[in-house]
């Protein structure tokens, strides 16, 4: 599904070039549940942003579903993001001014799904995540776990092929965290490819494979369970 070849990301400050990612070569197969680990500042989240087409300032090759992303315009990359990718954030990042229903509706509206169809999908998702009763509440009226549940629901509502999760349980207590990880496992079984960034060995254990990044380098290539 994804192939990165010699991918690099750096920042320039005057004559100095600071590398965040160095010569990343990585392959992620469709249906895989990949974990990225590493210390803070290692480049994990940057790698996730690049995979999610949110960061366009990198060099090297990025192949996504056989398309050469490195040759695509920003607009085309946004199209790929819209079509295939969902995001889950550590801090949930629900939009405060919107209700649960409206937060779920947002990705569909960006994909130009017709209002009727959109309503049906949101209703189905609310039901699937058992949050029908919360649909008219604002994020501030939900607990952290509930917010992340909505965050995941929002990430998968447009049926992405790839789900990118940045420390999805980082702000949750352990029981809530486990619920979310179980949810990821179920989604993965249903065919969604998942890439998560985490500091937690326990969360990593839900995945098939873990890579470690240190100072921008992948230091421990794939060593993992079968898909």
């Amino acid at each position: 599904m994804i192939r990165l070849a010699n991918l690099e990301r750096y920042f320039e400050a005057g004559p100095t070039r600071t590398y965040v990612l160095r010569r990343i070569n990585l392959e992620i197969r469709e249906g895989e549940f990949l974990t990225i680990m590493g210390p803070s500042g290692a480049g994990k989240s940057t790698l996730l942003s690049i995979l999610g087409m949110l960061d366009n300032s990198w060099t090297g090759e990025y192949w996504f579903l056989d398309q050469a992303v490195h040759q695509l315009s920003t607009k085309k990359r946004i199209e790929l993001n819209k079509k295939y990718i969902g995001f889950v954030f550590q801090k949930y990042h629900l939009i405060d001014d919107l209700t649960v229903y409206e937060n779920l509706e947002i990705p569909l509206s960006y994909r130009d799904v017709k209002p009727k169809e959109r309503a049906a999908i949101v209703a189905e998702t609310l039901d699937r995540f058992q949050i029908v009763g919360k649909k008219d509440l604002y994020p501030s009226q939900l607990s952290g776990g509930q917010q992340q549940l909505v965050g995941v629901a929002r990430a998968v509502i447009a049926s992405p092929k790839l789900l990118l999760a940045d420390e999805p349980t980082g702000n949750l207590h352990s029981a809530q965290g486990e619920e979310i990880m179980e949810l990821f496992t179920r989604l993965n079984r249903q065919g969604t490819t998942i890439v998560q960034v985490t500091h937690s060995e326990r969360n990593a254990s839900y995945g098939h494979r873990t890579i470690h990044i240190h100072d921008g380098w992948v230091v421990e290539p794939a060593g993992a369970r079968a898909v």
Binding site: D55, I78, H93, D96, Y110
Partner: protein, 810 residues
């Protein structure tokens, strides 16, 4: 469409959650849009709305020019010759203002009338509400018909549909009403009644007597240049045929629209420019507020991008907020404009044409909506572009790596504030120039002392007073009666009081000097006076004596001359005892001895240089000369120790005793002449000071916003400096320096702008140059001071940064 509505709904909800931001933005926009809409409503009514006549662009005024390029009224015979010989005109009409007395219940009322030639209404192209204009021949002989204005028709006749055919009594004469003109028919000036001329009954046959306003309607396809050449040819022919009166006489043509709106145009254009600057400053302020808000919403924007929002969708969300705020700002602005228009009309100086038509109508509403749309785009686009151009990944990363975005944003905000300051400075310079102008005008010596003087106006002609003898007897009796009022020191009368209410002029000759060649005559303003006028208004006596009671009809003819005349025509020599005569000397000339020299009075306005003047007692005018002036309302002046409130009823009683049917108009304190003369500049000054103040406030808010933001961005740096032992005073100075640096950049650009735009103000200024260094310095200092104040709060806040907190936050 539903997405757009949803964007709007979300925008509204989001704004309701930030009521402070929404309120400041709406108020800022409302002030900008309101000020623009209010000024536009005036511009629209005064300058843009076409005159209420058929094809008004074909209407031109024709005036005569004479010695030294002076422009004046037209003589009756010249008008008739132009009318018959001119080939460029579909029609030509003449008119002349007059004052008439209308007697009904209560006080007699003076109505402003016009005497017009028969085809006046046809040439003007005005559609009458009822009836007809004048028929050919009705302007010959004694007039017997009248066209009345809508105001009289409604007030006096209750808008009776059968008013045509009824009789109206004016100044003791009966006229059959033949038509009613609509309101807004303001030519020549505001009038209530139009009467046909009595050609052939008075001095209109004298080619040397110039008292008509002439209006022409160009033939289709003929332009003003062709018309000018055509009439110039006629004028040259007349000069050959009548060398005595027409040598050196030329013509000048002015589009009617330009003549009507011309005097108000410069001030209105300046004010339009001023409000446009205010609006630009408001836009910059709101754009700045939006940018600041975008910082708080960086994460949300990044999340939306991560969820698949394209750049256009992100920008659209910001634009939706801009649209919602602009709509609210527009609505509040229109309400404010409604109030402001009432205030503007109330404060507007006399002489702004069509000011009664100023109001919020469809055109003004459309203008408000159009500028609001432009404004919405202007201030919405900048933050929208910023948001759309943001790299969402930046927002998900730590603070340390967002420095570039933050710098870009700060730079943008700084640019906006620099623009605000420079625009505010342009306005401040304008306001200061007008403050100086009004101050200097206030210090101008008008040449008379209006304090303690009361003035009013009367029409002299009526059925009871049809000839010079009765008219002058009436004038003398009124003055006598005024002088008898207890507390009155002096009383007198004159045609046209000082400071621009009108003038009578003509040529004159000095005994012993060679007669001037035709076209090279010496011109002076004639001050035809009765009673003790010069003493009453406080004209100073420089030499000789004033006019006395003894200078009557049978006594030796005498005149007073002013210093300007002595300088110009006597080369500074003592003119006392010399004799002059009006016109060119011949065997019938009346020679008048100069018995006194008086100080110069600024008759044509405070800013106009005094002109040569001759004061002549009305009692010593020959009846034929008098006939030229009898139609002109005469102004009385009364100097008294009695306060105006107590004197006014006494004056009314005195006039009523002489003629119970005589209306009095313009009864007021003469000091109002001075305040009227200053009114135009005072009005412009008031508005420019208001707009300048608004601009200053908005600019100060802008500086404050940027500096507050800069301090919050530099919290860590300031914390480190303090931790390293920096003195709090030096931290404060650091922030102030940064703020003042921005202000000085804006001031520098603003000075350049003020110098470039200052010349547009020239026509409103008096004795001050648009590039006056003191004015520029004062405006720059004011703005620097206000900017320093705006920086002070963030600077003080900077000194209160707790080093430990600042460093921990990282």
């Amino acid at each position: 469409m539903s997405d757009l509505l949803r964007d709007l709904r979300y925008a509204l909800r989001s704004l309701l959650k930030s009521p402070g931001f929404a309120l400041i933005t709406v108020v800022t926009l409302a002030l900008g849009i309101g000020a623009n809409t209010a000024i536009f409503s005036v511009v629209n009514a005064v300058l843009l709305r076409p005159l209420p006549f058929r094809e008004p662009e074909r209407l031109i005024l024709v005036r005569e020019t004479y010695s030294g390029g002076l422009v004046g009224s037209v003589s009756g015979p010249n008008f008739l010759d132009w009318q018959s010989r001119g080939r460029s005109f579909e029609g030509m009409a003449a008119s002349r203002g007059t004052a008439l007395a209308m007697v009904g219940e209560g006080e007699p009322e003076e109505v402003r009338g016009a005497l017009v030639s028969a085809d006046f209404f046809r040439v003007l192209g005005v559609e009458l509400l009822l009836g007809r204009g004048f028929a050919a021949g009705e302007d010959r002989g004694e007039p017997s018909v009248a066209v009345i204005g809508e105001r009289i028709w409604r007030d006096r006749y209750g808008a009776a549909p059968d008013v045509v055919g009824r009789t109206i009594r004016l100044s003791g004469r009966a006229y059959a009403i033949v038509g009613v003109t609509p309101d807004g028919m303001n030519y020549p000036g505001r009038r209530d009644v139009w009467l046909p001329f009595g050609f052939g009954t008075g001095q209109d046959t004298a080619r040397g007597s110039h008292s008509y306003d002439v209006l022409g309607r160009l033939k289709p396809g003929v332009d003003i240049e062709e018309a000018r050449n055509d009439l110039a040819t006629v004028a040259r022919a007349l000069a050959t045929e009548y060398p005595e009166t027409n040598t050196g006489r030329g013509i000048v043509t002015i589009p009617l629209g330009e003549d009507t709106t011309g005097p108000a145009r410069p001030a209105l254009l300046v004010l339009s420019g001023a409000v446009a600057l205010v609006l630009l400053i408001a836009c910059a302020n709101v754009a700045n507020l939006f940018l600041a808000r975008a910082v708080g919403r960086q994460r949300e924007i990044a999340v939306r991008a991560a969820l698949g929002a394209g750049r256009w969708r992100l920008a659209r969300q910001v634009m939706a907020e801009a649209a919602a705020l602009t709509t609210a700002g527009c609505m509040v602005g229109i309400v404010l404009a409604g109030w402001a228009v009432d205030l503007l009309v109330a404060l507007a100086p006399a002489g702004i044409p069509r000011v009664e038509a100023v109001g919020i109508d469809g055109t003004v509403l459309a203008y408000a909506i159009v500028i609001s749309t432009i404004v919405g785009m202007a201030f919405g686009v900048i933050p929208a572009l910023y948001v759309a151009g943001q790299d969402p990944a930046d927002s998900f990363r730590g603070e340390s790596r967002t420095a570039s975005g933050s710098k870009r944003r700060s730079r943008l905000r700084t640019v906006l504030v620099v623009a605000q300051i420079s625009l505010a400075l342009v306005l401040l310079v304008g306001a200061t120039l007008l403050i100086v102008t009004v101050r200097r005008l206030g210090a101008v010596d008008p040449g008379f002392r209006p304090e303690g003087v009361t003035s009013f106006q009367l029409g002299l002609t009526s059925a009871k007073r049809a000839d010079a003898t009765t008219q002058r007897a009436f004038l003398a009796r009124v003055i006598e009666r005024l002088e008898a009022i207890p507390g009155v020191w002096h009383a007198g009368a004159v045609f046209f009081l000082p400071l621009g209410s009108g003038q009578v002029n003509g040529d004159f000759s000095v005994e012993g000097q060679p007669p001037a060649a035709p076209g090279q005559e010496q011109f002076a303003d004639y001050r035809l006076v009765a009673g003790d006028y010069p003493r009453t208004v406080g004209v100073s006596l420089v030499g000789g004596r004033f006019l006395e009671q003894s200078d009557g009809a049978g006594a030796a003819p005498v005149v007073l001359v002013n210093q300007a005349l002595v300088r110009k025509y006597f080369g500074g020599e003592n003119p006392l005892g010399r004799r002059i005569t009006f016109g060119s000397p011949d065997s019938t000339s009346v020679w008048r001895e100069v018995v006194g020299v008086v100080g110069d009075v600024r008759h044509l306005g405070l800013t106009a240089d005094p002109v040569p003047e001759i004061y002549t007692p009305i009692r010593q005018l020959a009846p034929d000369d008098w006939a030229n002036f009898a139609e002109i309302p005469i102004s009385f002046a009364v100097r008294s120790e009695t306060p105006f409130a107590r004197l006014a009823p006494e004056i009314r009683r005195a006039v009523r005793e002489v003629d119970p049917e005589q209306p009095i108009s313009r009864l007021r304190e003469a000091t109002e002449l001075l305040s009227d003369a200053l009114a135009r500049q005072r009005f412009s000054r008031l508005l420019l000071v208001l707009f300048g103040g608004l601009a200053l406030t908005l600019a100060a808010i802008g500086v404050y916003g940027v500096m507050a933001h800069a301090v919050s961005q530099r919290t860590r740096e300031l914390g480190i400096r303090l931790a390293l032992g920096a003195h709090r005073g030096s931290v404060r100075a650091l922030v102030l320096r940064q703020g003042l640096g921005i202000a000085l950049l804006g001031i520098g650009l603003g000075l350049a702008g003020a110098l470039a735009l200052g010349r547009l103000l020239t026509s409103l200024l008096y004795q001050v140059s648009p590039a006056d260094p003191l004015v520029l310095a004062a405006a720059a200092l004011t703005l620097s001071g206000v900017s320093a104040l705006a920086c002070l709060v963030p600077a003080i806040r900077a000194t209160r940064v707790d080093p430990m907190d600042a460093l921990r936050s990282e």
